[in-house]
């Protein structure tokens, strides 16, 4: 059995629209170990959701189109799988939870039926057995009085409880991989900390690998072992959580971290913000997608996409500044100095 549960190579996804081809995901490669929590961070439109949902072709095609790439899950190349074959994987081996628990649950069906549905479809169990198991699942997802909840409809539950129901459904078949797409963005911080705690407990007890998509760097710090930063449909940096937070080597990652106010920090200095807005994916920039907003951008950044630079221990960055051929600006950046390059800001 290989260490890696998931390996994605040169994965690209586009949407064919009237306006043209929206290149949402461009040449993304990464791997995920068994039992590991990987956090994918990036702004809206950076391609993180499209990428993870396309792994098992959850997006309707057309307009979504997987242009290229390989997806190796549990040692098998599933990128060529058809709908029927994928169904054996979806829900059983790879489970998803989404941001909005209200739209993911059927409002006209009782909680009990929605939890048992997957069990009856995938596992050969009797109705009673499935019911007993469902109560157990709701309990392990942290829902008090699960027996009573089985008979209720989604609207009778709070947002946090609904997300717990989603978790119960997701873990029903003991998946090897859980993709949590902004699972707590719609919830209060207090509920968020409970839901994240539940996901972490399940990750430990079931040995389930987790891809956690979020834009909250605080959540990343508390949950992830590894982090992948996406921008403009590309991976710009990836590495162990400490490397990303303390030794980030990409200007975008640094700006992202600086844009989050710290509770212990001085609040008189203005927050660092990133000037401008994310690129238009109908006509993505030829070079590094972050170059137009980057204060360290050089000529080469605008015309050529940087390749991968390995910094050791699985810490990779895609930035010309880390290239051995880069000049003085790059040296200043790597030393952590603030440089305002002519032509930006």
């Amino acid at each position: 059995m290989s260490e890696q549960i998931l390996k994605v190579e040169h994965f690209s996804v586009s949407f064919d629209t009237y306006a043209g081809e929206v290149q949402a995901v461009r040449d993304v490669s990464f791997a995920l170990n068994r039992g590991e929590i990987l956090s994918i961070v990036g702004e809206s439109g950076s391609g993180k959701s499209v990428m993870t949902q396309s792994l098992v072709k959850l997006l309707p095609a057309p307009p979504a189109r997987i242009k290229s790439g390989k997806v190796i899950f549990d040692g098998q190349d599933i990128s060529g799988y058809r709908f029927k074959q994928l169904r054996q994987i979806k829900g059983q081996k790879i489970a998803y939870i989404f941001q909005d628990p209200m739209t993911s649950l059927n409002p006209t069906v009782k909680i009990g039926k929605q939890v048992t549905e997957g069990l009856l479809a995938h596992a050969s169990v009797s109705r009673q057995e499935a019911r007993r198991k469902a109560v157990e699942l709701l309990r392990s997802a942290g829902i008090p009085n699960p027996d009573k909840r089985m008979e209720q409809y989604p609207h009778e539950l709070s947002g946090g409880m609904r997300q717990r129901v989603m978790i119960a459904i997701a873990i029903a078949m003991q998946p090897q991989l859980l993709v949590a797409d902004e699972p707590t963005t719609a919830l209060d911080v207090t509920i968020q900390s409970q839901i994240l705690g539940t996901i972490k407990d399940l990750n430990r007890s079931l040995g389930m690998a987790v891809i956690l998509i979020t834009h909250d760097m605080g959540v990343v710090a508390g949950m992830a072992q590894r982090v992948m930063v996406m921008y403009g449909g590309r991976v710009v940096e990836s590495g162990a959580v400490r490397d990303i937070f303390y030794h980030s080597a990409h200007p975008y990652t640094r700006s992202l971290l600086a844009a989050v106010p710290r509770l212990d920090a001085d609040s008189t200095a203005p927050l660092e913000h990133i000037v401008g807005s994310p690129p238009d994916m109908l006509a993505p920039p030829a070079g590094c997608p972050f170059a137009p907003r980057c204060r360290y951008a050089m000529e080469v950044c605008r015309s050529h996409m940087p390749g991968r630079t390995e910094l050791g221990d699985g810490h990779d960055t895609y930035c010309w500044l880390c290239d051995s051929r880069a000049g003085e600006t790059a040296q200043a950046f790597l030393r952590g100095e603030r440089v305002v390059h002519s032509g930006t800001e």
Binding site: E43, S44, S158, G159, G160, M161, D188, V189, T190, I191, Q192, S193, Q194, L196, G197, H215, D216, M217, G218, V219, V220, A221, G222, V241, R242, F245, S255, L256, L257, A259, V260, P261, R262, L263, A265, S267, P270, L271, E272, H273, I274, S277
Partner: protein, 323 residues
């Protein structure tokens, strides 16, 4: 403190909604506080705690059930038609959702100018100039004036919403979660803009939010709300350094810190129960059944917000660490 230093005084404000079956939802219950001129007061709490209702009642969108709000020393109940009109100009609101709060069929110039037209401010030619000035002020440009809201990103739309509010030369802004719908890097842009505008225009804000780290960053003082009541109110540094109320302590412990080393050593308080329904609350402290410090007295007595010394107002001091 001189009376004219206070721009807003709220006294025993209640906003109760009848929800059928003889039940009452006390969305805002006996809330008192004040805001000094040029001050930013943050208002935080979980969803359903009544912070939006409080903001809207203060802005007179809802008529309060009881209690009084004074604006520049003048009570709402004493205001005549002209005063109310003046108030509706001087106090402006910025909404959470930059998508639904802008009319999709109006251009940005029309959106920004509408308030000035209604209030009969300036000549038409001057209004057009003002629109451009305002767009520049919030970081947009002349070219944006004739575009429609759908052509903008969330952050840019929020800037349009801010320009619309500033058009009426307000003194006081109620910002109802103005950054929650935006991306992190854009949030920082907008928060910096709010701070900058306070310096330039001498504005005062009531800043409603549920992101506590951003609120700490922007606010001078912070009020924590729980089930319709303010449970703690103090300067933002003091609140985070030394919370008195167990609910504040719980809320703060739930914020994830963007620092893996700190975060791995941190203990998140997990409460057994969720927030109870705000309809027909029991007697006594409303945090009683979730509070790790609760004692018998808490079940019976409703605690009042009081000054614990040094302007640190709290309804409870069970979580207090230093004396």
């Amino acid at each position: 403190m001189a009376q004219n230093d206070l721009i807003l005084e709220v006294e025993h404000l209640c906003q109760h909604f009848s929800v059928g079956g003889g039940a009452t939802l006390k969305a805002v219950d006996d809330v008192s506080f004040f805001i000094r001129r040029r001050e930013i007061v943050g208002l935080v709490g979980e969803s359903g705690c009544g912070k939006t209702t409080l903001g809207r009642t203060v802005k007179q969108i809802y008529k309060p059930t009881s209690g009084e709000v004074r604006f520049n020393g003048k009570a709402f109940s004493q205001m005549d038609k002209n005063d109310r009109r003046e108030f509706s100009r001087r106090a402006q609101m910025i909404f959470q959702d930059p998508y639904s709060s802008l009319d999709p069929r109006m251009t940005v110039a029309e959106i920004v100018a509408e308030g000035m037209e209604i209030h009969g401010m300036y000549t038409e030619a001057r209004r057009r100039e003002r629109v451009i000035e305002l767009l520049n002020l919030v970081g947009l440009s002349k070219e944006h004036a004739n575009r429609f809201p759908h052509e903008f990103s969330g952050g840019q739309r929020q800037r349009v919403g801010i320009a619309r509010a500033l058009a009426l030369e307000p003194e006081f802004l109620v910002c109802d979660e103005p950054i929650s719908a935006l991306d992190v890097s854009i949030q920082a842009q907008i928060v910096n803009l709010f701070k900058e505008l306070r310096e330039k225009l001498g504005l005062t804000y009531l800043f409603i939010a549920h992101d506590l780290s951003m609120v700490k960053y922007i606010s001078d003082r912070i009020a924590v709300m729980y089930l319709g009541r303010i449970v703690e109110l103090t300067t933002s540094t003091e609140l985070y350094r030394n919370p008195y109320h167990p609910y504040t302590e719980f809320l703060l412990s739930a914020i994830p810190v963007p620092d893996p080393d700190l975060e791995s050593g941190r203990e998140h308080v997990r409460l057994a129960k969720e927030m109870p329904s705000p309809i027909n609350l029991p007697e006594g402290c409303s945090f009683y059944d979730r509070c790790p410090y609760a004692c018998e007295a808490c079940r019976k007595n409703k605690m009042e917000l009081r000054d614990m010394g040094g302007g640190h107002w709290s309804a409870c001091d069970k979580a207090r660490k230093e004396s």
